[in-house]
């Protein structure tokens, strides 16, 4: 098999990393699943942070992750007690869930590591949701947690 791609192109070096990227993801039409969007939208006005809201984690975000020196993923979860906030550092893992409808953060990091030879420092912030029904609003409990989650995110930076 010919190596046309290898012959024509040298390995690119990643852009010099200079910033923090916050990716809040989930479905804003499913109640508390929209917490990632809410937080990303809030953080868009905070200096020093680039914030992105997305329905799912997909390869199109790879470039932005590669350019960051720190990426923070924010998502709702069904694990734990409603209102629980968990912050943990995560690392690239090719064995995480990856489908054409969405990928886990660890797989996104693995994509970046494989393509650019490095992966930024990364954290996953999850908030246990209470109500994932068909609605655009957060539940009162989760809405009351927004400031606390934002503070935890800003502490990471």
């Amino acid at each position: 098999m010919r190596d046309a791609y290898c012959v024509r192109y040298s390995t690119q070096t990643p852009c010099e990393a200079t910033k923090t990227l916050v990716i809040g993801y989930g479905n804003p039409l499913r109640g508390d699943d929209g917490i990632g969007w809410v937080l990303a939208n809030r953080l868009m006005t905070v200096e020093g942070i680039t914030a992105v809201s997305a329905h799912q984690l997909l390869p199109e975000l790879i470039d932005q992750i590669a350019e960051a020196d720190h990426v923070i993923f924010v998502d709702a979860t069904v694990q734990g007690k409603p209102g629980d906030i968990v912050v943990r550092e995560i690392f690239p893992d090719t064995m995480g869930l990856a489908t054409s409808h969405g990928m886990e953060p660890v797989v996104m990091l693995a994509y970046v590591e494989h393509l650019y030879g490095r992966s930024p420092q990364a954290h996953l912030v999850t908030i246990t949701g209470e109500d994932f029904g068909y609605k655009e609003n957060l539940s009162p409990l989760i809405a009351s947690k927004i400031d606390e989650v934002q503070t935890k995110i800003e502490t990471l930076i």
Binding site: C6, H55, Q56, L58, T94, Y111
Partner: protein, 474 residues
């Protein structure tokens, strides 16, 4: 003793399915079936809804190709309103549709299929994946990500969001294109063109290495069906139906989409939720036909954009008459991505593309409407009947992937016979059986209007139903 091999689930496709392979007493493949195990029910659940909700509702059928449903649904809505939408609205719909096709094809080629080309069909599954591709050809992987991003960003700029945009409506689109967004899209064109040309050059240098796969991946005569414009060119958004046989002869031409029931009928098999459309005049199952990139490349007299025309001409030298091997769906997808990039640029250069007149307003003036367009996977049709209040009474969806159901089944049987010769199940054999399905890039979430949760295992069954062997995948 005869045995049945089941592949469940089929991997690296959209949606959920399984494949059953029946071996005879001598261990030879006697039969193979492709079963779709999802059930959705959109045709039923949308009854009673206002027709103008249908684009938004049917867009939820799929998170990968919602735009395709927006197009066909909105066109059915246009027919119910009995309006001719503004020219600018039509051009803007075309741009979004083309962007959708480009990103969907990029997903299929780079993320789902390239591991087979780059790592080889016989490679270990732990290497035969997108990470293997990234390791070996990082620039190919980057081009794939970039091309998908190109299409998704256009959808987002036009529709406000990448997934389930609600901008396409009966009568036109809900907002015009801004100068800023026009400039943003135009700025992305050169890089996208370069990326797809690079990919085409690479693919053309390697695809002939897969001789066994080309000969056996659903390589048989069928009809081909798709939309073409009045000049016989590629028509992704609007046109008339053309049907061609396996020798390249045009069987039927200039067929009106709204009269589809004259030439398309649907059969139902008990072991699958996916219906089997066929060409009515030839009956079932002789009326088997294929749609999608391979069909479109066969049907047209040219693409209609300069570089794609060159690539198309080269593609057509693969075989006289019609290109039959479904392996060449992959090649056809790359040519179509190039066409989409070029055509988007042509449309953006039209003088009225920034016009504010993008929607025709009316009340329903007809009680029945049909909308047809070309989705990434082939011809897609929405047919609605409404009452005097504009509420949906009846819906029929003929889905792109469904059109290929008969061919996928026949393809599974063909490749199983080529690569499975004993009761010893080896991974490369199973990968090829899956790979023939992947050539069609089926979207099973769409085609069965479904949700899928299913057990993931391979079963080997004796004729009396006893489980002879069981393998779990994933």
């Amino acid at each position: 003793m005869s045995k049945t091999i089941t592949i469940d689930p089929v991997t690296r496709i959209e949606g959920h399915s399984k494949i059953t392979i029946q071996l005879d007493d001598n261990g030879h493949v006697a039969d193979a079936r492709f079963h779709v195990t999802q059930f959705r029910g959109f045709e039923k659940m949308t009854e009673g809804r206002p027709f103008y909700e249908m684009p938004a509702l049917t867009g939820r059928i799929c998170g990968i190709c919602p735009v395709s449903h927006l197009m066909a649904s909105a066109k059915a809505g246009d027919a119910l309103l009995a309006v001719q939408i503004p020219e600018t609205a039509e051009d803007l719909r075309r741009i979004m549709n083309l962007a959708q096709i480009a990103q969907s094809h990029a997903l299929s080629f780079f993320h789902l299929s390239s591991p087979d080309f780059v790592m080889g069909f016989d490679a270990d599954p732990t290497e035969r994946n997108i990470f293997g591709v990234m390791q070996k050809y990082p620039e190919l992987a980057k081009d794939g990500i970039a091309l998908r991003k190109f299409g998704q960003s256009i959808i987002e700029l036009l529709g406000g969001k990448r997934i389930h945009p609600s901008w396409v409506v009966p009568g036109g689109v809900s907002s015009p294109l801004t100068e800023e967004h026009h400039a943003t899209i135009m700025a992305q064109i050169p890089a996208a063109r370069e990326q797809i040309l690079r990919t085409l050059e690479w693919y053309k240098s390697i695809f002939e290495d897969f001789d066994a796969e080309m000969r056996s991946f659903a390589n048989f005569p069928t009809l081909f069906m798709g939309l073409v414009n009045e000049d016989g060119e590629l028509a992704m958004y609007d046109g008339k139906i053309r049907i061609m046989d396996g020798m390249g002869n045009i069987v039927a031409d200039k067929l009106e989409p709204k009269n589809y029931q004259d030439y398309i009928a649907e059969a139902v098999e008990p072991d699958s939720y996916l219906k089997s459309p066929y060409y009515r005049p030839m009956g079932y199952p002789d009326g088997i036909y294929r749609v999608g990139p391979l069909a479109r490349m066969n049907l047209i007299s040219r693409c209609g954009t300069p570089l794609a025309d060159q690539e198309w001409a080269e593609f057509r030298t693969l075989q006289r008459g019609a290109v039959l091997s479904s392996f060449h769906f992959h090649y056809a997808r790359l040519v179509e991505i190039l066409y989409c990039v070029e055509r988007i640029e042509q449309l953006l250069n039209r003088p009225n593309i920034l016009s504010k007149h993008v929607r025709a307003h009316a009340e329903p003036n007809r009680l029945e409407g049909v909308g047809m367009s070309e989705a990434p996977r082939g011809t897609l049709l929405h047919h609605y009947k409404i009452d005097e209040n504009g509420l949906i009474r009846w819906v029929n969806l003929v889905i792109a992937t469904g059109n290929n159901n008969l061919a996928m089944n026949k393809g599974v049987l063909q490749v199983a016979r080529q690569f499975i010769h004993s009761t010893k199940i080896e991974e490369p054999m199973l990968n090829r059986v899956e790979a023939v399905i992947r050539t069609f890039d089926p979207c099973l979430s769409c085609s069965t209007h479904a949700i899928g949760q299913m057990a993931m295992h391979v079963q080997l069954l004796a004729p009396d139903g006893d489980v002879v062997d069981e393998v779990y995948r994933g």
